[in-house]
Amino acid sequence: MLRRTHQDAGTEMVKAISLTIALIALWLTLSGYFTPFLLSIGVASVLFTVYLAARMRLLDDEAVPVQLRPALFLYWGWLGGEIFKASVAVCRVILSRDMTLSQQLIRVPWDQKTEMGRTIFANSITLTPGTITVETGDGAFLVHALTDEFTGSEGFEEMGDRVTKVEARHR
């Protein structure tokens, strides 16, 4: 995996602060205790973790994806609806009497500019029942589809466009 090692100090600072906030929120959620002793242990662990992450040069777009637009949450809502529709379609295939499959490995082109965007697109395809991203090639994914019903290129294009919209704040 190719990582960008050179990013400016400001971006790294933003990512360090974001990671600190996220880890404190995670600690409070999972602990649920607000005694001074446990809170101070939590703060110490979070600071130590952020220090280690910075030392390992993990504060990049992949580990702390704050470059994504907040509209990602709306995208997840839309994706939930798509998952539901596709699940119903797969269930219909499973329950049909003769269960006619037409399995295929198809090419789905991507146009995302960042690795994170491509990852979100590929994972969205896999999350939707009926299609699974098998491998990525030059400019396209290899996708396995269960029947013809799941191979419509408009569906993939719409999903790809929505991912492109959330992948980065600045272009």
């Binding site: 269930c91 329950l95 590929a122 994972n123 396995h144």
Partner: protein, 142 residues
């Protein structure tokens, strides 16, 4: 009066989510048994770990009231949402690299997408081209 009305609404929402989730889980489990090969069974597993698991978790969220347990359930749902496609992709990619292919492929755009690189890594492709389906179909036909 007002509180009990909200509780009733939550109970109804839970009942709907649990019922639909259970139906997805049952059909997915049925599909894993019924579908013919590894690749099609992956899709049945996909129904279970997306629609099935998430609907059960949403049903539970309505029962906790709004407290720390709800946040923990949201965290679980989030992690399932991120890790299940990763695991599915890891399994399918491993099968693909090992040379397993779906039964009765209607359309195969592997060459257009990946070029000739991965085919060299697949042993049965070069030698056993005359008997396609022997590697991919043995488990499914049993």
């Amino acid at each position: 009066m007002d509180m009990s009305l909200i509780e009733t609404a939550c109970d109804i929402a839970t009942a709907i989510a649990f019922t639909m989730g259970s139906i997805f889980l049952l059909i997915g489990a049925f599909g894993i048994v019924r579908l013919p090969d590894f690749w099609s069974r992956l899709h049945a597993a996909g129904v279970i770990d997306t629609a099935g698991a998430e609907l059960i978790l949403i049903g539970m969220m309505f029962q906790t009231g709004w407290d720390i347990a709800t946040l923990k359930l949201i965290l679980i749902a989030f992690f399932v949402f991120i890790t299940s496609p990763t695991a599915t992709h890891a399994v399918s990619n491993a099968a693909f690299v090992a040379g397993l292919r779906p039964l009765d492929l209607k359309k195969d755009e592997t060459e257009e997408t990946l070029g000739d690189v991965p085919t060299a890594a697949i042993p049965h492709r070069s030698g056993a081209a005359a008997s396609p389906g022997t590697t991919s179909g043995t488990e499914g036909n049993a």
